[in-house]
């Protein structure tokens, strides 16, 4: 094929896929009934939950336009005081590590439940982290190319999810939202769904790497909306296939969904396990993105050369390894503190910071 038109930096597609992959992994596998206060209209909550992140993108756009710089964290450093900037960055870093821990623990549980029942959890965790650690050494260009490649492969999966809407087991009667609660409870419950979009925070360090001519906001909106559609689709599918009561008992409704629907249709008897491999890839991509984000934040706290990147990579991988292996195999992980922290670190804090940056005057040329 001709090579004349090859692109050199990250463009619209890379940004679109980066946002998609940073967000979709963990959210989709545990969709939709694991949130704190459950009500029957989960798919509606998923749609409402995206609104804060649309505001996030709107304010981000305003900040970029006002200060004419896509590196908003740099703008923050220039505009704020050290006593504000560094604690914020450290908090973002710790939150990211907390999210990685959560994701890897979840991965281990899913793998142990569905694929490797007789293998000890630490084996799963350690091998995953070794793979991730070595992969991180390849750098963001390789990671971005990988996620684009995998996204292309996943288009088939997305298409197959749409096909499930027409399966025999699907009942539209389960879908209409049943409001047994007041609006306040509904909105409160929706907040927990908001955390599904928390991966969007990682674009803060990715945007400076994107080509100048890229339409970042339009692309980000589109990616976020695709994620919302995917979440809603999975919610509707699960609810329509199992009904509300049964869905509540499933660890991974989407896995059970595929297991039920495709059981007698294909060569693979347990197609859910095959689909599970797609989710492992999704978690691998998400882990790479989150780790890379953590390293980018670290670089802003303690500047270091690119060739020394292996040091923070090793430190973080080892820390996560120790923490995840040290916690018991099957613990009833409470999602509440995790979700609250996610909300603060990925939506409340950034919105406050964006507002602050909007209120401040433009940086002088000298700065």
């Amino acid at each position: 094929m001709k090579l004349q038109t090859e692109k050199k930096d990250f463009g619209n597609i890379e940004l679109f896929v980066f946002i998609y992959c940073s967000t979709i992994a963990l959210g989709i596998i545990f969709l939709p009934y694991i949130s704190a206060e459950e009500i029957r209209s989960a798919w509606l909550k998923v749609m409402v939950g995206v609104i804060p992140y649309l505001i996030f993108l709107f304010l981000l756009n305003k900040v970029i336009r006002k200060h004419n710089d896509r590196d908003v964290l740099k703008v923050l450093k220039d505009l704020s005081f050290n006593w504000l900037y560094y604690p914020v960055m450290i908090y973002l870093l710790l939150s990211t590590i907390y999210s990685i821990f959560w994701g890897i623990k979840s991965l281990a549980i899913v793998i142990q439940t569905y694929l490797l029942q007789n293998t000890q959890q630490w084996v799963v965790i350690v091998t995953f982290l070794i793979f991730v650690g070595i992969s991180l050494m390849y750098g963001i260009t390789a990671i971005t190319r990988l996620i684009v490649l995998m996204f292309i492969c996943e288009i088939g999966v997305i298409a197959s999810l749409v096909a499930l809407l027409f399966s025999q087991d699907f009942r539209w009667i389960y879908i209409p939202p049943v409001f047994t609660v007041d609006v306040f409870t509904f909105l409160k419950s929706s907040i927990s769904e908001t955390t599904r979009y928390a991966g969007l925070i990682t674009i803060l360090t990715f945007l400076p790497l994107v080509k100048k001519e890229t339409k970042i906001i339009k692309t980000s909106y589109m990616s976020l909306l695709l994620i919302m559609i995917m979440f809603t689709l999975v919610s509707i599918l699960t609810l329509g296939t199992f009904g509300f009561e049964q869905t509540l008992t499933l660890l991974s409704p989407i896995t059970a969904l595929i297991q039920t629907t495709y059981a007698e249709m294909t060569l693979f008897e347990r197609l859910d396990l095959f689909f599970l491999t797609i989710w492992i890839w999704a978690l691998y991509k998400a882990a790479l993105i989150y780790f890379w984000f953590a390293i980018s934040i670290t670089k802003r706290i303690i500047p270091f050369q690119k060739k020394k990147e292996w040091i923070p990579i090793t430190i973080y991988v080892v820390i996560i390894m120790i923490v995840t292996v040290a916690t018991p195999s099957f613990v009833n992980l409470s999602w509440e503190p995790y979700n609250i922290n996610l909300l603060i670190s990925t939506i409340v804090l950034p919105i406050l910071l964006f507002t602050y940056m909007l209120l401040r005057k433009k940086r002088s040329v000298k700065e």
């Binding site: 094929m1 694929l115 490797l116 799963v124 190319r145 008897e269 347990r270 492992i280 691998y284």
Partner: protein
């Protein structure tokens, strides 16, 4: 001393320049005295039976001296156009320019310094010294070239029946026959301080990216090895990731393939003594296509064949690992009837599925390697014997299951649908890595190995071009063209 570093004694090997400097000053001009020159030449080419010299007198009484490497020159030209004409010369020769009206050869040039003269003799030219006159180099080199013939390693049904030969200049002229365009540029290089191998870089201006041409040009200009004897050596030199298992340049001995590559904007590199040329930059998808694909009269044939190759690549690399994962870790994934059949076939097998897979993979690769090196008639015998041994006999002996034989046979056939042998070899290595991952962690291990491999491929570049292009960076138009070219 306990930790004293051992002194390493390197064998003393002189470079070409050092060797020459030990006899003459390489930067000095040649003497015009025949006896001195003859003595020095004999020292330089001592113990070389193919070094030939002739001392004779012209009719006018002037002494003349010729020396050359006997196998490399055109003797007929030397006799008819040099010796005969000189022996008829009755007038004195005063300056080297006089040779222009005496010799009937196409070209000659004045000698300069020792280093250059020795290079010229080594290239197959002749040194002529007429006493009192500055020595001249007679350009009479006659390389041992064979005629252009069929390509022997890349069989094609529809493609041109012509292959490259061992001379890079001839190969460039073949390319000129395929592409009659003044924008077909060619640059030449001398690679290897001692081997001085001639290389030609060919590209189509306005098609090839300037950056790619500049990059390979800078690589070639800075080639600092002593010898350049094989194309593989050069491939490693121009590759940014020489230790990757995937090739970052491709080889072909087919001019039609090279011409197609040129029209795709690639650069093509010819090296003397190799019947293959190097093409770069290449991508993963390039490895799935041949120029012959465009010979199909029906476009869908091309689409089908490329899809087949892509699927075969997946099957050929991952099927044994998938078998191990399914049999050893996740038998519930396959239909119950098939599980029972597999279990029955494995009931009398003493080896675990992993060992069975490794054994069969190893046997397959040994067979492939053995049959490649042997003449075709013996190769066929090896194929038949090997097929029986790793097939029927192994199953009947209860060493491997018949399902495993089917898996390996299908794997072998599938991977050979890929047109590029170097690429096939890479995937053969990948197969072992996949089986190892599947043996340790089942489907989970296999999935992680595939993801990691994808990341490794994503990291690769060929002359600064992404190996995954047009998948990533995504270019929908080019991707569509790959499966269904525009009219």
């Amino acid at each position: 001393m306990l930790f004293k570093k051992k002194q390493r004694l390197d064998p003393i090997t002189l470079s070409f320049d050092e060797y020459l400097a030990s006899i003459v000053n390489p930067e000095e001009r040649l003497p015009v005295n025949i006896e001195i020159l003859k003595g020095l030449m004999q020292s330089i080419f001592s113990e070389s039976y193919d070094f030939a010299e002739r001392l004779f007198k012209l009719p006018n009484g002037q002494k003349a001296y010729l020396c050359y490497l006997s196998g490399l020159i055109n003797k007929t030209d030397l006799e008819d156009n040099v010796l005969k004409t000189l022996l008829k010369r009755e007038k004195d020769i005063y300056v080297s320019d006089d040779f222009g009206s005496i010799l009937t050869i196409t070209n000659y040039k004045n000698s300069t310094i020792w280093k250059e003269v020795i290079d010229q003799i080594l290239s197959g030219n002749v040194l002529l010294l007429v006493e009192g006159v500055q020595p001249v180099i007679l350009l009479l080199a006659n390389k041992n070239l064979r005629n252009v013939a069929d390509p022997t390693t890349e069989y094609q049904v529809y493609g041109a029946k012509i292959g490259f030969i061992e001379d890079s200049r001839t190969n460039v002229s073949i390319m000129r026959q395929f592409i009659k365009d003044p924008r077909l540029r060619s640059k030449e290089y001398e690679l290897g301080k001692e081997s001085k191998t001639h290389a030609s870089l060919v590209y189509l201006e306005q098609y090839a990216e300037d950056e790619a041409v500049e990059t390979i040009d800078s690589y070639l200009k800075t080639f600092d090895k002593d010898h350049m004897l094989s194309l593989g050596q050069l491939t490693k030199y121009v590759s940014r990731h020489p230790y990757s298992i995937f090739p970052q340049a491709s080889k072909t001995e087919r001019p039609d393939h090279a011409a197609y590559a040129l029209t795709q904007g690639k650069v093509v590199l010819f090296v003397d003594n190799s019947t293959f040329c190097l093409q770069a930059p290449i991508t993963f998808m390039d490895m799935l296509e041949t120029s012959e694909d465009h010979s199909f009269l029906v476009t869908w044939n091309l689409t089908f064949i490329r899809l087949i190759r892509l699927v075969s690549l997946l099957v050929g690399s991952a099927l044994p690992a998938l078998y191990v994962a399914l049999v050893a870790f996740q038998p519930e994934l396959i239909p119950t009837t098939l599980t029972i059949n597999v279990a029955q076939s494995r009931a009398q097998i003493p080896l675990p599925a992993t060992a069975e897979a490794f054994l069969m993979l190893f046997a397959l690769d040994v067979l492939v390697e053995a049959s490649i090196r042997l003449p075709s008639f013996v190769g066929q015998t090896i194929g038949i014997v090997g097929g029986l041994v790793i097939g029927t006999a192994a199953v009947e002996a209860g060493i491997v299951s018949n399902v495993m034989v089917i898996v390996i046979a299908f794997t072998a056939v599938a991977i050979f649908t890929l047109p590029n042998w170097e690429f096939v070899s890479s995937w053969r290595i990948v197969r072992y890595a996949f089986v190892t991952s599947a043996a340790v962690l089942g489907l989970y291990g296999l999935v992680m190995a595939i993801a990691f491999l994808a990341l490794h491929i994503a990291k690769l570049d060929s002359l600064n071009r992404s190996y995954l292009y047009p998948l990533s960076p995504f270019d929908g138009k080019q991707l569509r063209n790959f499966f269904k070219p525009a009219r």
